[in-house]
């Protein structure tokens, strides 16, 4: 006796899919939809002001997406694993400030960078501890640590920028390699690393399992607490790393940088990029396009001389559309037979 494991036939659905054709299937891939949206916005902006398509402006768009993307890589992994980090904007700042304060007192550059990353790691681990051992839901726990860390940031600096920073530090970001700005290189390397982690390692499959069905992950013997720890730690480190890149780019540790706007932008980039808030699903390439789209919208509105108030309206509308598309994808995958 045999059991047929081919997905059960559903003639009505099959017909529907055939009629929609390949274009519809392509649109259901978040990356393809995002590329289309980016091209449309770019075309509209270029029509209003051809300066949008200049090399220097395109590089600027890429550079401004770096911060969102680097942070979004860690945040995406966490959300795919079923977590959430609303403290990312504050971790961004405290990591940068820790590094910049050490640099201003003459610390060796690699040591200061390491210290900044360790502070981010510690902030991520605090989130993990609060969530796991005090059983506080992630959204509340990370919102709480967000405010605590913001307060610490203000206390550390008395609200003043931390500067001057040594050129040995700023050049790590402001320099370039064969004409490619270093910050773009860092983002590419981060993206490749996270893509590999998610798509080519056991860790990647395990975090999809954790986010997709936590009970199943436990039942299958996954060490879920260790996975949670790793995810919150990684989110903290990527936020701090993005903060370091930002500080080196502007040559100062800014207490006003990061905060709630950065947190929301990163979560938005992740969700627009096709990562499901329900966990399990998402890709780093999608997140890259999500971060790029935010940057394109920022830039296009400025170049096209459209009032900045429209930025929030456009981003909000795209976010809603992205989550609606995510719902469609889930319906497609989770449909019951």
């Amino acid at each position: 006796m045999t059991t047929d494991m081919k997905p059960a036939a559903n003639p009505a659905r099959q017909l529907k899919v055939d009629l929609r054709g390949a274009a519809s299937a392509l649109l259901l891939r978040q990356e393809a939809t995002l590329v289309l949206v980016i091209v449309v916005i770019g075309a509209l902006a270029t029509a209003r002001n051809p300066a949008f398509l200049t090399d220097s402006n395109l590089v600027e768009i890429l550079r401004s997406s770096v911060i969102y993307f680097v942070m979004a890589c860690g945040a995406a992994l966490l959300i795919i694993g079923g977590g959430l980090d609303f403290a990312a904007g504050a971790n961004f700042t405290i990591g940068a400030l820790a590094c910049c304060i050490l640099l201003t007192v003459g610390a060796w550059v690699p040591l200061a960078i390491l210290a900044g990353l360790i502070v981010g790691l510690a902030a991520g681990m605090i989130n993990f501890l609060v969530i796991t051992f005090w059983h506080v839901p992630p959204i509340i726990a990370t919102l709480g640590t967000f405010f605590v860390i913001l307060g610490i940031n203000a206390r550390l600096t008395d609200g003043s920028d931390v500067l001057p920073l040594p050129s040995g530090f700023t050049q790590l970001v402001q320099g370039n390699l064969l004409g490619v700005p270093n910050d773009i290189l860092y983002a590419v390397l981060t993206g490749i690393g996270f893509w590999f982690l998610l798509e080519r390692t056991r860790f990647g499959v395990n975090i999809r399992a954790l986010g997709g069905n936590r009970q199943a992950a436990v039942g299958n013997g996954l060490r879920v607490v260790r996975l949670d720890l790793a995810l919150y730690a990684i989110s903290g480190v990527t936020a701090a790393f993005a903060g370091l890149i930002y500080s080196a780019r502007i040559g100062a540790g800014q207490v006003e940088a990061g905060g709630s706007s950065t947190t929301l932008a990163v979560v938005t980039a992740v969700l627009i990029g096709g990562v499901s808030l329900l966990g399990g699903m998402g890709s780093i390439t999608g997140v890259a396009f999500g971060a790029l789209l935010l940057s394109v919208i920022d830039n296009a509105l400025v170049v096209a001389a459209i009032p900045p108030q429209y930025n929030n309206i456009v981003v909000g509308a795209i976010l809603i559309a992205a989550v609606a598309v995510d719902h469609l994808r889930r319906q497609r995958i989770y449909r019951r037979r």
Partner: protein
Amino acid sequence: MTTTPALELRGIKKSFGSVSALSHVDFKAYAGEVHAIVGDNGAGKSTTIKIVTGIHRGDEGEILVNGEPLRLRHAAADSQDRGIAVVYQDLALVECLDISSNMALGNLPRRFKFVLDRARMDRDAAKVLKDLKVRVGDVKTPVGLLSGGQRQVVAIARAVRMNKPIILLDEPTAALGVQESAHVGEILDELKAAGKAVICVSHDLEFVFRHADRITVLRLGRSVGTREVAGTSRDEVISMITGLASSDLDGATTSNAVYDEEQELL
């Protein structure tokens, strides 16, 4: 067969707050047999399985695997390490992952220490499904696209793939039709022939009487007796389930005792 039970439970107790789920459960399952656990709803069958697999933590009692104690408070990974594979009633599948990832979950093959060996994972999954006579279109199909019966077979195939000496199945035929149930029965028979200790929780007495060697009956959180299938009747088992028949706890000779004596003689 060996005289040491592959899995033995002694006096397992478990309460959820003030509610007592298990007040005294014990049974012995040996390698090379299918041991069914039956009982009415709320008898404690699934709780017993979950204590063995580490999902729930037992309050009192002992779990012995091949004669060696397994802590009552252990993680699911520990029971896997001790040679126990399980098919949960809710199947514990991840819908957004494909068939081969689900089948390898918890034991994903790797290269160079941490790189996922995707090709081997797909190959292993396809081979296990083929061995189980399950036709596969593509092992990369997301489990969310499969029907209930197909998911059940994937969950069973996952336990088979793990190749552990003890396999626990919680209601493996609950979502299946007649043909699919028969197929699962064949798989259980093959596992038994391969020398595995197969412990199967089921409501389906017809299935149990067709494939099990012994039956342990749970009632209101207690194991009320173990019977050899060849020496009992469906009426007796039903009477034990409903409480109409006297239980071994009232002094009747247990099948476990008889079975142990037989094992000693072998």
